[in-house]
Amino acid sequence: MILTTVVGSYPKITEETSTSSIRQAIHRHDRGEITGQDLEKIFQVNTARVIREQEALGIDIVTDGQIRWEDIVTPLASRIQGFKINGLTRFFNNNVYYRRPVVTGELSWKSPITVKDYQFAKSQAQKTLKAVLPGPLTFAVLSEDTFYRDEKKLVRTVAGILNQEAKALEAAGAPIIQFDEPALVFEKEKWALALEGLKRAMAGLKVKKGIRTYFGDLEGILDPFLDSGMDFIGLDFVSTDGNRRALAKKKLSIGLGAGCIDARNTKAEDPSRLKTLIRELAEKTPQLYVSPNCGLEFLPYPSVEPKLKQMVQTVRDCNSEMKK
């Protein structure tokens, strides 16, 4: 059966301005009007809300929506010794900016970073809740290195740290751990280094583990990732046609996370094209996970529901056809 999931992020705010708005709470916290505990409470309320919304829309594997995260690297970098957080930098090819972490000293992992948040989210979820971490190459590419001055060394070091975090998430009961590697689609020549990093980050994990790529394709570098021991690979089938070409005449032995819904545009998908794509991909893998092509935070809140509804309904239609 085809399952549905999301990639990671979810819009942090709705259109309503209420006292539970994250936007207002952060403002008020910055101005010293509410405490860190008050802010934490708001994060919890909203984490619970986005999990409830995903479940109500029929998503099979949900996330915490990353509503505490400003981006995929700084939440971790700010709690890893050796990083400083610097000025705004463009987030890949989006009109979205993040604060760039700078490596200024030996990096070391002191204690679990995301585990408490994962545990809270899990307590709110009825469905399977996956944990999401940045991949080692992406972490390195989004950072500025003034310490090692050696990308290989940085990727390896970060991979070791991510491995410790992943193991802590596994111990906390995460059944699926996903590493996001969007950097791979922009820096294809670094595929071997990315793979080496991922193997290190995933070493010893017994839970389901895999990667997610988005904003582009892995055409030309896909094969080594397919038999590298990971349980699933996530690809973007909207931004380019490259992944579709790369999978032509191919059968995977691992799960395929398929980004079939455009999460960077508000336009609804062409229903027949979407169905054809899902049917085609279902033939290629023992387990297809249909999802948007990247995190949902690039969309305004009101656009998320129609997008996910269309996705879930199309997958249901495909599933019932396949039963016949």
Binding site: E15, V96, K267, P300, Y301, S303
Partner: protein, 331 residues
């Protein structure tokens, strides 16, 4: 001497009273007319301030604009404005959505240009956002492809540029900060710019920022404009080395102020930047300006930075003139 003219990239910080008025307007506590009157007052002040500082080419300061893309989208037919999307940190903006054919209901910026120009004898630069950037920073539910969307916008921006020229603009700047985002689409940006500047007699400029220029250079020299304006100060003028390898064939807008820093740039650094540019281009080909729009600074910071910039330019000019005099004396 001529050359080394000073200018800015377009936006100035809004004074506190205007910021407050804009908030009040959105909350329905202030009428459109009341806001308009304050926008005019702020425009007058910012034009006067630019004259005082001694800039050569002025701008209207964009007191009436919010976001550089959403502002245009709000004035054009075919756009709807979406819900809030996060830009970074706790900052959100409303992103335009193309939901119908994009058309101009009438001139968008012309009356503001004319108003600003009426306040000064110095030339005021017309300021537009380029088609590629409007496309890249909008959602699109209307057009079959990014190219179709961009070219439709190019036609609209072209009409606006023509109207600015008719209204007397001698300089028209068409900002394309998004051009550096996707190097593989530089061809599309070039195609669209040809449409925008087609037949214009005014001096045309485009501003590009926030990206890896190495990936679009020298290709970006094909943009159909007279001048390309670049951020250079925030990378310590490193980019100029690239132009030593492959010549920069247009006029340059030389960004010499780091607009993302609160502190005032040192005169020595600015002079060093200008002199470095003079190694590869004639003074007539160099326009000295900040790296980017100044709207994220406080008014005090913005004006102090510009003042140092003009002083630095003046000193470089004097040094050049002294050199020429010496040469003349010898011969």
């Amino acid at each position: 001497m001529t050359g080394l003219l000073t200018t800015t990239v377009g936006s100035f910080p809004k004074p506190d009273y205007l910021q407050k008025a804009r908030n009040d307007f959105y909350r329905g506590k202030l009428s459109r007319q009341e806001l308009f009157a304050l926008e005019q007052k702020a425009t007058q002040e910012v034009v006067r301030k630019q004259e005082e500082i001694g800039l050569d080419i002025l701008v209207d300061g964009e007191m009436y604009r919010g976001d550089m893309v959403t502002y245009f989208a709000e004035q054009l037919e075919g756009f709807r404005i979406s819900g809030l999307v996060r830009s970074y940190g706790n900052r959100y903006y409303r992103k335009p959505i193309a939901v119908g054919k994009i058309r101009r209901k009438g001139p968008v910026t012309v009356s503001w240009f004319a108003f600003a120009q009426s306040l000064t004898k110095k030339p005021v630069k017309g300021m537009l956002t380029g088609p590629y950037t409007i496309m890249d920073w909008s959602f699109d539910e209307q057009y079959p492809s990014r190219r179709d969307f961009t070219l439709a916008l190019a036609e609209v921006v072209h009409q606006e540029a023509q109207d600015l020229e008719k209204a007397g603009a001698k300089y028209i700047q068409i900002d394309e900060p998004a051009v550096s985002t996707r190097p593989e689409e530089i061809g599309l940006a070039i195609e669209a710019m040809k449409v925008v500047t087609n037949g214009l007699k005014a001096k045309t400029i485009t501003h590009i920022c926030y990206g890896d220029f190495r990936k679009i250079y020298p290709e970006m020299l094909k943009l159909a404009v007279d001048q390309i304006d670049l951020e250079l100060a925030n990378r310590d003028f490193e980019l100029l080395d690239l132009f030593k390898e492959t010549p920069f064939t247009k006029e340059i807008g030389l960004g010499v102020l780091d607009v993302h820093r609160h502190d005032i740039d040192s005169k020595e650094k600015i002079k060093r930047g200008i002199k470095k540019a003079l190694e590869i281009l004639k003074p007539e080909k160099i326009y000295v300006d900040p790296d980017c729009g100044l709207k994220t600074r406080t008014p005090e910071e913005a004006f102090a930075k510009l003042k140092v910039m003009v002083e630095a330019r003046n000193e470089v000019r004097e040094e050049l003139e002294a050199k020429t005099r010496k040469l003349a004396e010898r011969t």
